[in-house]
């Protein structure tokens, strides 16, 4: 693609090996996750169930191959716990507020579309942030751009001055996703990008 970059054979082999390692790691994660889902579906962890789950997972991945995502992070248990807990809390609070609005005498709803530039680089983080922003009542991701890593959020009830607050909230959600799934370097980069955006 870039013709001015002369790659030595050693670099080519290293890149090839790294990509294959990453691909195998992702396949492993996928197979493990699918087996876990099968075990939970059956409700028991007998060896037969686990073996059947492994067989089915491999079969599914063979019949429906998906392109591997570029994921440089790792799952962090503490971050995941914080993510799930905070998600449930946000869901509860926002659902209460929404039902108050729905039952109120005169629902004066002034909505708006806010642009949210994300700080991270990675499809998984963008999709994860979009997911939790959509599931929490009050915002829906209407559009997304992959190249510039921006999300466009439709917010249910806002004033024009609150646009920056909405962006802050979305960025905090993104940091929660990053702390659950990303490597330290990615978290640092994203925090730095957020600070730069804030200063500008």
């Amino acid at each position: 693609m870039m013709s001015e970059e002369k790659r030595t054979p050693g670099e080519v082999m290293h890149r090839h090996r790294t990509r294959r390692r990453m691909a195998w790691r992702h396949q492993g994660v996928n197979v493990a996750f699918l087996t876990l889902v099968w075990v939970m579906l059956n409700g028991n962890a007998w060896p037969l169930t686990v073996v059947t789950g492994l067989v089915l997972a491999l079969l599914v991945m063979w019949v429906f191959p998906l392109p591997a995502i570029q994921w440089q992070g790792r799952p962090r248990p503490l971050g995941l716990l914080m993510l799930v807990g905070r998600l449930l809390f946000d869901l509860a609070v926002a659902s209460f507020r929404l039902s108050v609005t729905a039952f109120s005498r005169n629902p004066r709803i002034r909505s708006g579309m806010v642009r949210i530039p994300l700080g991270s680089q990675g499809d998984l983080y963008q999709v994860g942030t979009a997911s939790i922003l959509t599931i929490v009542p009050g915002s829906v991701v209407v559009d997304a751009r992959r190249k510039t890593r921006t999300l466009y959020l439709h917010v249910l009830d806002m004033e024009p001055e609150e646009a920056q607050d909405v962006v802050e909230e979305a960025r905090r959600a993104e940091m929660r996703i990053l702390r659950a799934f990303a490597s330290n370097a990615e978290i640092r980069d994203a925090a730095q990008a957020h600070d730069e955006e804030g200063v500008r």
Binding site: L41, P67, R145, R146, K147
Partner: protein, 120 residues
């Protein structure tokens, strides 16, 4: 204690019945097809809640696989309706008819915006 539980169950059932009525009203009223597909999604969710209520009263775990299938398949209806209604398909068709541009599309412009999605 048991009468309190029965009263609560009856209250829940009453709320679900009212909710179904309201959602059906929107299903009939909704000026656009998207309104109707959202209303259908709500009706499905209320049916799931009713299955949950039945599971609570009967104590059998028969309804759980039912809930699983409904939650997995219930989102495909609004998605299908949205794809049907969007006019992207004729945008893409016209673009194909006019022939793709021979050079690489620029980094901006509607082609680049849509290309983000059509890459895969």
């Amino acid at each position: 204690m048991h009468t309190a539980i029965d009263v609560l169950h009856a209250l829940a059932l009453a709320m679900l019945v009212v909710a179904v009525g309201l959602a059906t009203k929107r299903l009939a009223m909704g000026p656009t097809t998207l309104d109707r597909s959202v209303a259908a999604d709500v009706v499905l969710a209320i049916v799931m809640a009713a299955v949950g209520l039945w599971t609570l009263r009967s104590g059998q775990d028969f309804g759980l696989p039912l809930l699983l299938v409904m939650s997995l398949l219930g989102f495909t209806a609004p998605v299908g309706m949205a794809r049907l209604m969007s006019n992207r398909s004729d945008q893409i068709r016209v673009l194909h008819e006019m022939g793709r541009r021979t050079e690489k599309p620029a980094d901006s412009g509607p082609d680049a915006w849509e290309e983000d999605d059509e890459r895969r």
